[in-house]
């Protein structure tokens, strides 16, 4: 028997059978998902078939560092040692990523600094998904929301809506805070939509702070100064060490950023809506990674619109991504996000009132 198992033909047959079994397993996810207890195994199979998780495995070991990918896109940004660290160049046409910006460096069409009469401005703060990484500017969920609001005319034909997209690739919460406090103010927005995603709150939450420390930029906000002091970071630390030193302060920084954002906007009587935005990933990763953030926002009495169910029930998310293995939604994914956002905004009176400027009875909402 031992010799038989070692023979070429037996080994080839066993290998071929194993490979066929693996191929069958890969195809079994959809069928398993239909079974009463099949969702979890189906989800695990979909995870083994997805490449997205490999982009940022979140493991800091020796071999992961050797195998990590490094990407640089410097030429598309303005760097000026300010707190934001970088933003899109004005009048940018970045063909590879389909990013086009207006004269203010915002994704989307040209706009004016002063708000035209009869226009209600919605400021969108976010990162690459909101900025429409590899999606045309007019196909982003922000642009689609603007179009839908103007088509539905919830405040009558005399009012138009304008979504100003301040999002920029790889921005995290501390940068979004600064957009709200500084950069967006001259445009006088009426309401803020804050894209809360896993980049801003999970593996890369500290990305901006690391850049601030490494480049010797003033942390600007007292709570950040205090956090950096307590964590003992120094500009001589490498990114991995900085990340390790900041790790214990993740939830504190998230909380303080939300509080600061809410306070600043409340002082300007401008409502804030936090939108939980999923990435296109197998295994419900966005939901797992954003665990706790929704509760945090609710505890701070910030209006939350949860879009994390947008891609639920889809085991193979690749057709919704800009390319297989990437976490950014394509035009179809943005359409789904936009439809879900619009539906949920309408279903939540407080959020809808903030968007339209009137509650369901037509009265202006309290700030």
């Amino acid at each position: 028997m031992q010799n038989k198992l070692k023979s070429f033909w037996w080994r080839a047959a066993l290998t071929a059978a194993s490979l066929l079994g693996l191929a069958g397993l890969a195809e079994a996810a959809a069928g398993l998902d239909m079974l009463p207890h099949g969702h979890f195994p189906a989800l695990l199979i979909s995870v083994t078939r997805g490449r997205e998780i490999m982009d940022r495995p979140g493991v800091t070991g020796y071999y992961e560092r050797l195998l990590a990918k490094d990407s640089r896109m410097d030429r598309n940004y303005v760097y000026d040692k300010s707190f934001l660290v970088y933003w899109f160049k004005p009048h940018l046409t970045w063909e590879h990523d389909h990013v086009t910006t207006n004269g203010f460096g915002m994704v989307g069409p040209e706009t004016t600094l002063s708000k035209p009469p009869g226009v209600r401005r919605i400021a969108l703060l976010g990162a690459s998904i909101s900025a429409g990484h590899m999606v045309q500017a007019d196909q982003t969920f922000g642009a689609l929301l603007e179009r839908r609001l103007n088509a539905d005319q919830p405040d009558g034909p005399s009012q138009r809506f304008e979504v100003l997209n301040f999002a920029c690739i790889a921005y995290v919460l501390t940068q979004e805070l600064d957009l709200a406090v500084e950069r967006s103010v001259p445009f006088n927005p009426d309401v803020y939509l804050l894209d809360v995603n896993e980049l801003a709150t999970y593996l890369s939450w500290d990305r901006h702070l690391i850049q601030v420390v490494q480049q010797g930029i003033d942390p600007k906000y007292d709570f950040l100064r205090e956090t950096l002091r307590q964590s003992g970071v120094s500009s001589g630390d490498d990114a991995l060490i900085l990340s390790a030193k900041l790790a214990p302060y993740r939830m504190t920084v998230l909380r303080d950023s939300f509080v600061k954002l809410k306070t600043e906007l409340a002082n300007r009587h401008t409502p804030l809506i936090a939108v939980l935005v999923p990435s296109v990933e197998e295994g419900e990763l966005s939901r797992r990674r954003l665990e706790g953030v929704r509760d945090l926002l609710t505890s701070l009495d910030i209006t939350v619109v949860d879009l994390l169910d947008t891609f639920d029930g889809i085991l193979d998310t690749a057709p919704l991504a800009v390319y297989r293995g990437d976490v950014h939604p394509n035009a179809r994914g943005h359409r789904m996000l936009s439809e879900n956002l619009y539906t949920k905004l309408k279903a939540q009176p407080r959020a809808w009132a903030a968007i339209t400027g009137h509650d369901s009875e037509g009265a202006a909402p309290a700030p």
Binding site: F8, W9, R11, A12, T15, A16, S18, L19, L20, L22, A23, A26, E27, L44, V47, T48, R49, G50, R51, I53, M54, P57, G58, V59, T60, G61, Y62, Y63, E64, R65, L66, L67, A68, D70, Y202, L203, D238, L240, I241, S243, A244, K245, A247, P248, R250, M251, G283, L285, R288, R289, E291, A318, R324, G325
Partner: protein, 444 residues
């Protein structure tokens, strides 16, 4: 780890060591039925890779290239097989890399060969190679000083940083001069242009194993290892998925800590999976290389772990560090020689891991965790070796008691290596301490 005498190496062009050229040629005799069976399995393997999306764009190219070359290589006469593999590998370099880094790596390889083949004294040849490494290291640090694309350095490092040491070691112990075909087939191999983390293949083993068995047996073994590699790469995704929820500040209970630690250790299957795949690929072309990793999770002692995980690294260290140090000191006592040889092995292992980081990702600081990890692992192996020395275990049929002891030993090694691996994977001692104690502080 008791050494045996190291023999001289044949660097001549004849591509078989223990197996004579005629025997090797006989082992390459084609057989249509077996070829079709091998090809069908490779086709299935490609389907599995596609279904599980294991391939990135570059990997897809590599897979198509390797499987395509195999289909031709299998049928060409024996004397053309190795030249074809070398030419295809060099051509493939331009397929998986941008033209400039590919050309520079190949040109550097030829420059190294010309230096090593030159008639000047060995020491001058080695100094010249060292000078080129020093110049490129300088350029790696100050990237704007030389017009070399950044993509060059990791591939150059992956190909030459370790294997050139083995090659020069064997050259120094050989009566033959450097030969072009063996040199090129050792360094410029297609998978290495894609995989920068590459097993440190031994030159002598590679030459000796070339068509040492029937090609169908060798290739079948390779396909099995490629499948094993694929399964490990698939499982790695699950390891990352289950580890994903546990950022250090989320490890707030002891079970979560245990899970995080075990999963951190299990991330090594990414490396062993890649290594199985790489060596499996080389089997398709007649290189009957040994296994790179062998059931390391079941190691029953620390020396056993050292022998099973990344076996090629262990062999590399034994050849270029352990044996030379041991034989140098043997006259002063066997035990003393072993102690110093093991200390040297782990000191060099640590230094070379830093050196590997330098070439693959760029200048990096030395971490205290690295130093402590190799110090502790080295000490454990040393103690193990000293305890094992002179102790002869009579072969006995396994009993329930001996099986239980075996299980406890495996569990003990697994637990210790898991703790050590978590420590090694932490960015700093402080980060490790935070990870290990956060759960306790969360409950206080």
């Amino acid at each position: 780890m008791r050494p045996t005498a190291a023999g001289a190496t044949d660097l001549a062009a004849a591509p078989a060591g223990s197996s004579s050229p005629s025997a090797a040629e006989a082992h390459a005799t084609p057989d249509l039925r077996r070829f079709l069976v091998l090809s069908a399995q490779l086709g299935l393997l490609a389907v599995v890779f596609s279904l599980f999306n294991l391939e990135s764009a570059g990997f897809g190219k590599l897979l198509v290239g390797v499987f395509g070359i195999f289909a031709v290589h299998y049928w060409v006469p024996f004397r053309f097989k190795e030249p074809l593999w070398i030419l295809a590998s060099m051509g493939g370099a331009f397929w998986v890399l941008d033209p400039l880094p590919a050309a520079l790596v190949i040109a550097t390889g030829f420059a190294f060969f010309l230096i090593l083949r030159s008639p000047v004294a060995l020491v001058w040849r080695f100094l010249a190679i060292g000078a080129i490494f020093a110049m490129l290291a300088y350029s790696r640090v100050f990237t704007d000083r030389l017009p070399i694309p950044p993509a060059f350095y990791p591939v150059f490092g992956a190909i030459f940083m370790f294997r050139i040491v083995i090659y020069m070691y064997d050259l120094a112990h050989s009566s033959e001069p450097a030969q072009l075909l063996p040199f090129l087939s050792y360094f410029l191999i297609l998978p290495n242009f894609y995989f920068t983390l590459f097993p440190i293949i031994d030159f002598k083993t590679m030459r000796r194993s070339y068509y040492q068995r029937d090609i169908h047996e060798i290739a079948q073994q390779g396909i099995q290892w490629m499948m094993r590699g694929a399964i490990q790469l698939i499982l790695y995704r699950l390891v990352v998925y289950f580890k994903d929820p546990y950022l250090p500040d989320r490890v707030d209970s002891f079970p979560k800590l245990l899970l995080t630690m075990v999963l951190t250790y299990l991330t090594y299957i990414n490396v062993s999976g890649q290594f199985h795949f790489i060596v499996g690929m080389l089997h398709l072309f007649g290189y009957d290389l040994p296994e790179t990793n062998h059931k390391y999770l079941l190691a029953r002692s620390f020396t056993d772990f050292w022998r099973r995980a990344n076996i090629y690294w262990k062999d590399f260290m034994v050849k270029v560090i352990y044996f030379p140090v041991y034989f140098k000191l043997r006259k002063k006592g066997d035990k003393l020689a072993q102690v110093f040889a093991i200390i040297a092995v782990f000191a060099v292992t640590w230094a070379l891991h830093w050196y590997q980081s330098f070439w693959l990702v760029g200048p990096t600081t030395m971490s205290a965790n690295d130093v402590l990890f190799y110090t502790i692992l080295g000490l454990l192996v040393l103690i193990n070796v000293l305890l094992e020395t002179g102790r002869k275990r009579p072969k006995q049929a396994p009993t329930l008691g001996s099986r239980a002891i075996h299980a406890v030993q495996v569990l003990g090694v697994f637990t210790t290596v898991t703790i050590l691996w978590t420590f090694w994977s932490s960015p700093s001692i402080g980060a490790w301490y935070y990870l290990m104690t956060h759960w306790a502080r969360s409950h206080s």
